[in-house]
Amino acid sequence: MTLLADAFTVIAVSAGALLFLAGTIGLLRFPDTLSRLHALSKADNLGLGLIVLGLLPQAGSLSGGLKLVCVWLLAQLSAATASQLIAGRIHRRKSGS
């Protein structure tokens, strides 16, 4: 059972790390500010979600696991807000106001 949990952790955390790598490659390669923001917010937040999912079997107690999920939920909310604010700012600047 613990072997299964460890294997799940390894797979999910590795996938999360790969998504972080993908987000950084997108950040390095994309030509536009808006598409860079897209790579930053989408890929990195999915990577964070996978890492939290992988860490859940390793969390010692129920409250520890709940706290991890709360960290992830709050990260989603804050990333959505910040990306929206930044993108709105870029959009308004392009349309000239």
């Binding site: 460890d6 952790t9 390894v10 955390v13 590795s14 999360g16 790390a17 972080f20 790598l21 987000g23 950084t24 950040l27 390095l28 030509p31 500010t33 860079r36 923001l37 930053l40 917010s41 990195d44 937040n45 990577g47 964070l48 890492i51 939290v52 860490l55 390793q58 969390a59 010692g60 520890g64 706290k67 991890l68 709360c70 960290v71 709050l74 990260a75 804050s78 990333a79 807000t81 910040a82 990306s83 604010l85 930044i86 709105g88 700012r89 870029i90 600047r93």
Partner: protein, 96 residues
Amino acid sequence: MADFLIGTALFISAVTALGLYRVLRARIAVERMMAVQLLGTGGGAALLLLGVASGVSAANDAALLLMLFATFSCAAFTLGLETTPTENLGSEEESR
């Protein structure tokens, strides 16, 4: 398991530093703010991994604070740009 988690945390830190270097080199102020957001996500993930690997649950709180600070600074930055006229902050448009 702890070795694997610490290794992944180091990998994510390295990748985040690479992205930070790229974004901080940009001349547009908005892209520099994206660097702060990247620091919030990547640093938060690395802190969570390190916290579970070492059994220190306070690292979760530190990760939470890091992400909240990133969001609040982005919001404050946008609000500050709203009130000031579009002078030097957003005028360095890339010509590509």
